[in-house]
């Protein structure tokens, strides 16, 4: 599995959206609109899903036609034949592909086990949408065969059917639990302030203050005090 780097996991999900229209809107556009309206930072539903480092949603409408200059081979036989024959030239043009479904793409980087993570998504994902509480079903509602999803088990089974394995997962960060990461960030920020504030103080003063500091920040207590998931201001 290239989708793991230590305890960090890459989840890539392509869920096909039903081709169809309701009230003059396609299901894909309805899904897009819902994704666009999800609140950000602390208020994102992903802030509630345990162990989410970074995650995103978007709609894959289609693939692109490569109407670009350039060649992708060191030596391309068609470059020679294209000059000699017009049909060979046309054949050497990039092909035109067209997706038959649009896909809801969910890409997440998280800590730990996939089943646990997906259970968290099913149970914890919620946000306020102009006064309405929305759960995870609201985003996936119009995806193909999603009507069969009714509980965490069927949600996990569904997502796994939509899952693609990563060929290469690059971890440029850590693979600690999110609580661990957030606590560390909190400590870094607080200790920087402490160190600056106690510069030049006497040994006894620094020691005493340090003890109070440790009592306050509780370095080994991961739950609090700490930064909150999605916290956007100091």
């Amino acid at each position: 599995m290239a989708s793991k780097s230590g305890n960090a996991t890459a989840l890539t999900v392509l869920s096909p959206i039903v081709n169809g229209i309701v009230d003059g809107k396609s299901f894909a556009d309805i899904t897009r609109e819902r994704s666009l309206r999800i609140p950000i930072h602390e208020k994102s539903p992903l802030a509630k899903v345990p162990n989410t480092y970074l995650a995103r949603l978007f709609i894959l409408d289609n693939v692109f036609y490569e109407s670009l200059p350039g060649s992708d081979s060191v030596f391309n036989f068609s470059e020679i034949t294209s000059i000699l024959s017009d049909s060979a030239r046309k054949k050497a043009l990039p092909r035109k592909d067209q997706l038959k479904s649009k896909y809801l793409v969910f890409s997440s980087n998280f800590y730990g086990d996939l089943d646990e993570y997906l259970t968290g998504m099913w149970e914890k994902w919620s946000y306020d949408d102009n006064g309405q509480q929305r759960d995870v079903r609201y985003i996936w509602e119009h995806c193909v065969a999603f009507e069969g999803v009714s509980d965490a088990t069927s949600f996990i089974r569904y997502i796994k059917r939509c899952q693609l394995d990563a060929t290469l997962f690059f971890n440029g960060s850590t693979d600690d639990s999110l609580q661990e990461q957030l606590k560390a960030l909190y400590l870094k920020q607080e200790f920087s302030k402490f160190a600056a504030a106690h510069q030049g103080k006497s040994a006894a003063d620094v020691q005493q203050a340090f003890k109070a500091f440790i009592a306050r920040v509780q370095p080994e207590n991961l739950s609090q005090p700490s930064w909150q998931p999605g916290q956007s201001t100091p």
Binding site: S3, L54, D97, C143, A166, A195, P234
Partner: protein, 216 residues
């Protein structure tokens, strides 16, 4: 709403590759993993939280129900997802100049990939194939990848120091404390919200914040 969440930028790129080259690309990625020095530049650049390449063979797009039309594609596709610090427009130069051969390695098998230098064709290639993100979330909008790694360092050092030195005599304590500060001297950068890297993204965020304020 945007490709930007705090200090992170979400990039999605989907590019076609000839189906019979898929195995070759897999081999290249496998080699990159086995020989970590290929990733040396990327690690030193230290702008990325997490990134991934996903190859979708042309017959492997998820099909969940007979009612869903079967995809009939000429090409297989490579999707690239990255979470990096700074905007693409700002940092395209940094990536291109730091690791040009790395970028070429990863996209070499893709249709009409122009190579990373000169820069504009590469920049255009990425933008041509980029898909904007609708909702992007980071657990720590104020932290860059550097900060997350540095914080891990701080936490461990702090706990070790507290266990070993907090109850020493004041003078011995101070000596150890100074050693701790010395050891952590590159880890004291303050974390605040990101500078505004895109005026358009900022305008969107401000309008959004106004609607949020109105709701309260």
């Amino acid at each position: 709403m945007s490709n930007i969440a705090g200090k992170a930028y979400a990039m999605n790129v989907i590019t076609p590759m000839r189906w019979y080259k898929v195995w070759l690309n897999r081999l290249i990625f496998w080699a990159a993993l086995k020989a970590p020095n290929v990733l040396n530049g990327l690690l030193t650049l230290s702008l990325i939280h997490y990134a991934r390449w996903v190859i979708i063979p042309r017959d492997k797009f998820p099909r969940l129900d007979p009612s869903q039309p079967k995809e009939e594609l000429e090409y297989s596709y490579m999707m690239f997802f990255s979470n990096f610090n700074g905007s693409w427009a700002q940092y395209v130069d940094s990536f291109t100049f730091a690791i040009p051969s790395g970028l070429d390695l990863f996209w070499k098998m893709n249709v009409r990939y122009p190579k990373s230098v000169p820069l504009t064709p590469f920049h255009d290639y990425i933008q041509h194939n980029q898909i904007d993100t609708s909702h992007y979330y980071t657990a720590y909008p104020m932290a860059a990848s550097n900060d997350v790694k540095s914080a891990k360092n701080v936490k461990k050092a702090l706990i070790d120091f507290n266990a070993a030195s907090s109850n020493k005599s004041p003078d011995e304590f101070l000596e150890d404390y100074n050693k701790l500060l010395n050891q952590l001297q590159h880890d004291f950068g303050e974390m605040r919200p990101t500078p505004i890297v895109s005026l358009a993204a900022q305008a969107v965020k401000e309008r959004y914040m106004e609607t949020q304020a109105g709701n309260r």
